[in-house]
């Protein structure tokens, strides 16, 4: 199972218009889309999640077509079954940790009650060490607890893939290091494809089984560093942007990754 994306979108703001022309295929367990801010990473991730409608093109996950402009297919975000970790976590501020995690389990018009007992929620609370803070609101949590809550909320209804939007950018350096290791550990435990966007070369090093370089709205083709264990397969057809793309991490500091996660 993997992402197959080929989309175009023109976004107009007050001062400029921005052309997004993203095209890639990936079958890797962990894919990182890497690029400077303003390159269109967030737009790409939102389009995949169904939060942004491309002007034209096609988005598929495995055999499942999620968007196809030519065939007028546009599966709404709620039926795409992706977990999405937002940059600032987007936890619901008026709900406690337990309610936040249970949020997607009841699709009706009412929020889950503050002490609802749900086996799946309890399991995630326990495995993410959130039982002690289950009754607290997001504003009372540490950065790590917030991230684990957001992750549990995304994972509790068994998504088929996880989308991560700059998961560490809001954190200071020390916490960022620790959270990277923590997220890495958590991702080893869940057996679904992960797509992360980031502007931080360190993230690329840790999570990029496959790397895609995005600059000014297009995927730039770039050969994988020689020491990379996982071959990089890029289908971006805008090779003329090759020279302009941002430098990846130094090959010497490359961290080897197991191909299959230990469950």
């Amino acid at each position: 199972m993997g992402f197959d994306v080929d989309i175009r979108k023109t976004v107009h703001s007050a001062r400029r218009s921005f052309d997004l022309r993203v095209s890639f295929k990936t079958r890797a367990r962990r894919t990182v889309i890497f690029g400077p801010s303003g390159a269109g990473k967030s737009l790409t991730l939102q389009a995949i999640a169904g939060l942004l409608r491309p002007d034209e093109g096609r988005i598929a996950f495995g055999d499942d077509i999620l968007f196809d402009a030519a065939a007028s297919i546009d599966v709404p975000a709620r039926r795409r079954r992706f977990g999405y970790l937002f940059q600032d976590y987007a936890l619901f501020p008026k709900l406690n940790v337990r309610q936040n995690i249970a949020f997607g389990l009841s699709p009706g018009l009412r929020n889950p009650s503050s002490h609802a007992n749900d086996e799946a929620v309890d399991r995630w609370l326990r495995s993410f060490e959130l039982l002690d803070v289950a009754a607290q609101r997001p504003s009372e949590l540490s950065g790590g607890q917030m991230q684990r809550t957001a992750l549990a909320r995304a994972l509790v209804h068994s998504p088929r893939a996880l989308l991560l939007d700059e998961p560490f950018s809001a954190l200071d350096l020390e916490l960022r290091e620790r959270m990277r290791a923590e997220l890495d550990d958590l991702l080893q435990r869940i057996d679904i494809p992960v797509l992360m966007i980031t502007h931080d070369p360190e993230d690329l090093e840790w999570f990029g089984d496959e790397a895609l370089y995005l600059r000014q709205g297009v995927i730039a083709e770039r050969p994988a560093p020689a020491t990379r264990r996982v071959p990089t397969r890029l289908t971006g057809n805008h090779g003329d942007h090759n020279d302009a793309c941002v430098d990846g991490p130094a090959a010497s500091s490359m961290k080897p990754w197991p191909l299959a996660p230990t469950n």
Partner: protein, 223 residues
Amino acid sequence: MDSSVWITLALTLKVAGWATAINLVLGVAVGWLLARRRFIGREFVDAVLTLPLVLPPTVMGYYLLVVIGKRGWLGHWLQQTFGINLIFTWQGAVIAATIVAFPLVLKSARSAFETVDPQLENAARVLGLNEWAVFFRVTIPMAWPGILAGVLLVFARSLGEFGATLMVAGSIPGRTQTLSIAVYEAVQAGQDDTANFLVAVTSITCIAVLLAAGRLAPGQRAR
């Protein structure tokens, strides 16, 4: 104090209560449209709906008579089709109070919706909620303090509505005579005791409502 004062108070609360309930629904719906939907003439619609805030209430009352009066196009149609007459009824007073107070809830609701982080709504969508569930479980709870503050202002404004109400509903004691109109009549008739009492009741109610609205306004929560 004779019992007519209490009848007047009850009628005033009934009119203000209905005007508030209608404005809650209308204000939330239109406020959301103006905050979240892009359409041509959006600011023009906002300006027109804000007019009752700046126009003299008598002018609003005149417009209402033109529309729902016996010879008004809507009033004539209602009379012919359903036999409904709104002029000189408490329902007419509700319509007058609703329209005059509407800008207060519209402004509050629109700015409350504009401050709701769209990312939270997106989070709910990705978690499997349809648009109605997103609205009632994320958008409304986040915007609620601002909406409630506007609704309380509407209630206070409806309690004191005078000009448009007098023109549309008149001043029939026990049927359409609200507190503010009763004050006017009492002063005209030289009934100072009645006027004093009515003024005190109106002032206390309005101060209580304003205090509540101030506490609930966004950014002023005591938590």
